[in-house]
Symmetry: D2
Subunit: 408 residues, 4 copies
């Protein structure tokens, strides 16, 4: 794992457990983004290593633009934009909010400078805080601020996945943050836990925050199944590799096997083979010896499926996962996101939110797979057992692993 | 539509309704392939217009190789291959059966000549018929022959979709077969039929033939829904176009909108705008005036979704579709395949067939969407209400349209 | 070499040595094209293996269109086109003559059928012959017919290079024409012939036919140089390979080394290494053992330069080549075209021909290198010592080899 | 033009006109690079806008590595590298000096930080200066230092062309340096100057510095020609545009016309059309109104040729240019580089320098065209009348324009 976070949370769906007001929460989440960026130089914050990744600075500005475009401009009388040109630069994919700088060219934005983006953040923070303090923020505005904070938390994790990718492509293999050994001695033994199936409730309900893609709560009929008690470890994954996992097409989905060939995959992303045959892994603390006890991470969906096939098991559906999680809170938030065998399809009765935020989730509901759980990099309190993360099946730069399931 | 086929079948799952023996059925299906190829010259049969399409001659040889590799070689003592090199040329994607000629280069196979492929067909037909007549064919062999015949029927439809695509790219716009007007005067009025939902059985069961992806039969819990009484027509689709359908990103999935931009889509595939503003459509009978009464065809999943969104409706899930079809036989086999809102995922408890034929379906279960029904080009008796066709969401060269659904 | 042609010609610039009339010459050249196509089936004649190559049928039609568009339409009163749509299909690159079917899609033209193209040829032949016989053809028309015949001869060679490439990509490795061994026992010993340099006349002059790129004849100042007495052989090239030729960047131009890496070049095009280490070479007679005595062929300019560098020599400039050739006729027409170290630039005072035929040569004068000589596949009488062939530096599917030069 | 530089130099080939010692010259040239970088932030210095361009920081480090790898390591006893990993990062293309970081990924090098690169420069400067001061530097070392300084001057110009390209792609269109109007009121009238041709000496000779590609000095035979008295202006180029220059294929080389189509060229690089039809041009001072009196700049070779064709003229050969320049010093160093009609081929008798610096020029002698003169951004004293700059014919981001020539 990239970082060891001590945490005793339980992934509860009721977020502000400490009774924090929205203002405190706003301050806390916004500060956390700066904290994530703090080990990085202005140069580091400007780099984009591939079209799917974004510069740190862009993340910092985009999450700020989100509040400006979706809260301040529509809801705060007399608000003046910090810079009218920023909407073009920092709109990610909201067609309803106008044209955008090309995604693949975000790394060219040496201007605005990093310090200007920090000024932008302060300017918008002042305005949002003033809006909240003014008492003019009704429930709808509060919901938008809450959405903005959850959005920002998603980007906090992306800042880490994206800078990790950029640093990995630098031959100097810089460390994001110095750090020591991982500290996991022995993985817990893996056990199968049985679930009887039947009609289950899936998805989020009630007043507390969720994304629209977790709704509506609805009933599904599950067959009996078994779920592993923990994620697959690097040591287990090494057995798959030593057994020819990357050379045996019969274990792979067709698109997965094509990716193995065209991309030359021989191991998870960030694994390196030393001359003496030992393996090391690139982490946010730099290159480290591979620890077989750690959960395997940076797998594509294809690799997760091939491993499961090799292990005479399968991936769980997202419904199985959620059903199990409702019983056992532990899987939420870490240590790695878990690929499921569920395509990212809309729930029955799904309606995107109205207005521009309707583009947040719904328009991506094709060609992606659902991941459940959370990673060590997911901000505490962000995920839920109903939380649906999603990526394309070939994506490997997220903190993505797997947990096995099987039929009874 | 490309062709008007008079047919009064009802899509029953029990195939050999006329009591045809396997031998008669073998002869009948194999002859039908030659019938499909018969209007085409040797040159026509050799061309490949894109990597996803194959030459007619290749289809004729590949379906023959399927019997040779999966029936004759493993099951018929003393069988000698027609030409040992053909396995390399005509294996489509069976990793277990050795390396293959690259898919995108099938159009380079001017040799073997078309007449040699016909000799290959006769040689294999003689052997398969001898095997069946010998009485040495047990139930497993019969099942493989039946699979081979269903496989061949799938390629009969592909021969038509593929040559249509190749002819369309020829500036001479040749006709596959001469033909007259379409003959549909007025579409039936569209009605919504309500379904109460509940626990339903989905998938194929019993002794009669099905593909492995239709199994196992299992129960799903459906919400109440409504399904349209017929497919969307060209006239209805024109309204969507006239209302800016291809210019309004809010109607589209993100990947769909990207395809509209990058591919320059302005209409379904094969539609052309004349100088005087009238529209014509390329068919297997050549260019014809667009008939608003016909079902709209050659849509991608993206376009089908965008249309449904514009119509304040949605696509049905494959489970809704199958549930409705079990009540109303009409939708099976035509006139157009219908995109569903279901990703092509495995059914609970799905197990691919053992041996090489396990590669037939299971390894494609990611990144594709399910189509249900059948088209005018689907061979009579081939489809079933449990039949799962599947293509990538951007595919437009199949006979693919849509039927609307909505929540209650 | 692909074929052994017995020939005692000397590459004279005065073409109709036998006193042949234009009519006889027209008939003879046009027939020769059909002769080249005669071993090929209709399927073979339709295939296109890469954008740079064209189908045989397309060559047959394009050379016919050339007479129709440049001779008959402008010069023959009352001429009616065979099919008005053919100009779109068979115009190669003449912007002045209207839009064209995309070059890379020529292989999709299964229609017109091969027999229709033969009818087109007969129709145009009848008209051209009638025009010549009518006496209405003045010197300008005769010059255009002569250009058309030289153009057709160029395509006769291209028909062979293009079908060879297509057959090579067919795993069956078909032979264009059966044939036996090559029959060269021992290459002549290689000698250096010295030339004193000085002011020399370069380029074509006078009344006999030449392409515009060979004109005007002009004077150049040459340093003294030496030229090899024959082309480099396969045996010599094998020494380069055995000495690490394809692994030593210091021997290569930068673009050449990049091509070695990206294309995976390990040997000339069409060379294959058998399991037992012996080498064979694909020819128009199929796969044959490599003959070390043959001139090496199917080299790119990059490979020719790298070989020369390894041999402590260089390629001749086209001016050196022509100067030497004016003394020694042997190098003209075979056995292989010889890359020179001259970029294909215009001669001083160059003027493209007026009208559409001005596009024949001039617009390609950038990014290409000059080859001199001719190959066994060049029609007898076609080449001259002033003849400038040209291809991009990475092209390998032509019959291209090299002859060494060096400074004194 | 991007910048107005007052200068009265005459492009003499004897560089150190002021009697500057090598040490002074070293200091002066190295300082000038920092001067070029000084308006740029660390973020700006890290960005790479396309594979052909490099980050400022990379230029600063690469030019330093050049001294380290080619002077200090081979020539200075006991020299220890600043960082052994830098050779991998900052070697541009010297195969003899080991493997290299991929060119297209130079923009990912956020580390080493800009301040570390400055430390690297100081470290190497101290060592080079110590080496020179020590008296241990013989003529060969001095020649290598001189080469390194000329190399650094080339990169000073590239730093400007590269950052201009990156800033142009930033929607904020930042200015490298504030600045006012251009200040050219009226272009001088254009006159043709006649040259009688004959045998002329071309190339560099003698002791003073030149690149190896300028040697050996040799004789060429030139026909009579005329050369324009100045470069083509923006106003003249606008006439070409207004006369359909970018829509008339007959004016273009074939590859040029293909580039016009595929790249959508409508004007020189950096020209923009305002809504009111006025034109502005992006410069290092930001967007400015187009000045018709300025020399046209940022043309590809293709555009230069098309313009010349439209003007019933042609580009000069590099030999014509040099012959004229030997008479008239003005064309050297500015205001824009001038495309010639000469491919970048080796001079007769050309020998690359021995050792790694043999890769400096020779291996690029294919596929490029020669530019002569110099631009306002060429460091004073850097260019010569024998100087051969070269770029691919489609390159537009250099300060490249044209001067017309014509036959007599």
């Amino acid at each position: 794992m990239d970082m060891v976070v001590t945490r005793d949370r339980r992934g509860r769906t009721d977020r502000p457990a400490l009774g924090a007001s929205l203002l405190e929460r706003y301050h806390s989440v916004r500060s956390a983004s700066l904290q994530v960026a703090s080990p990085l130089s202005a140069e580091d914050q400007c780099v984009q290593s591939m079209p799917e990744a974004s510069p740190t600075k862009w993340h910092l500005a985009h999450t700020t633009w989100f509040f400006e475009a979706l809260v301040l401009q529509p809801q705060m009388a007399g608000y003046r934009c910090f810079d009218a040109r920023y909407s073009h630069l920092f709109n990610s994919y909201y067609e309803a909010l106008g044209p955008r700088h090309a995604r693949a060219l975000r790394g060219l934005l040496t201007r605005p400078a990093q310090h200007e983006v920090l000024s932008y953040r302060r300017y918008v923070d002042d305005a949002v805080e003033a809006l909240i303090r003014s008492g003019a923020a009704d429930a709808r505005v509060e919901a938008l601020v809450e959405l903005g904070l959850n959005h920002e938390q998603q980007h906090q994790e992306l800042m880490l996945t994206d800078i990790k990718h950029a640093f990995y492509l630098n031959p100097l293999k810089p460390a994001y943050r110095p750090g020591g050994a991982c500290g996991i001695d022995q993985p817990a033994p893996m056990r199968w836990t049985a679930h009887e199936g039947g009609i289950r409730e899936i998805g989020h309900d009630g007043e507390s925050f969720s994304f629209d893609n977790e709704r509506p709560r609805h009933r599904v009929l599950l067959p009996p199944f078994q779920l592993a008690s923990r994620a697959v470890t690097c040591g287990e994954y090494l057995e798959f590799m030593h057994d020819g996992g990357y050379r045996r097409p019969e274990l792979w989905l067709s698109d997965g096997w094509a990716a193995v060939q065209s991309e030359g995959w021989l191991a998870p992303l960030y694994w390196e083979a030393d001359d003496d045959g030992l393996r090391s892994v690139f982490t946010l603390q730099g290159l480290r010896p591979l620890d077989p006890a750690e959960p395997v991470c940076h797998l594509s969906f294809y690799e997760a499926c091939a491993y499961a096939s090799w292990a005479h098991a399968r991936l769980p559906t997202e419904f199985e996962w959620e059903t199990a999680a409702a019983a056992w809170l532990p899987p939420v938030e870490g240590p790695v996101w878990q690929w499921t065998r569920s395509s990212y399809d809309p729930y029955p009765g799904f309606q995107p939110s109205s207005g521009p935020i309707g583009e947040y989730n719904g328009k991506f509901m094709v060609g992606q797979l659902v991941l459940r759980g959370g990673s060590w990099a997911t901000p505490p309190g962000h995920a839920r057992i109903t939380y649906r993360n999603f990526f394309a099946p070939g994506a490997r730069w997220q903190f993505s692993g797997l947990r096995l399931a099987r039929d009874v």
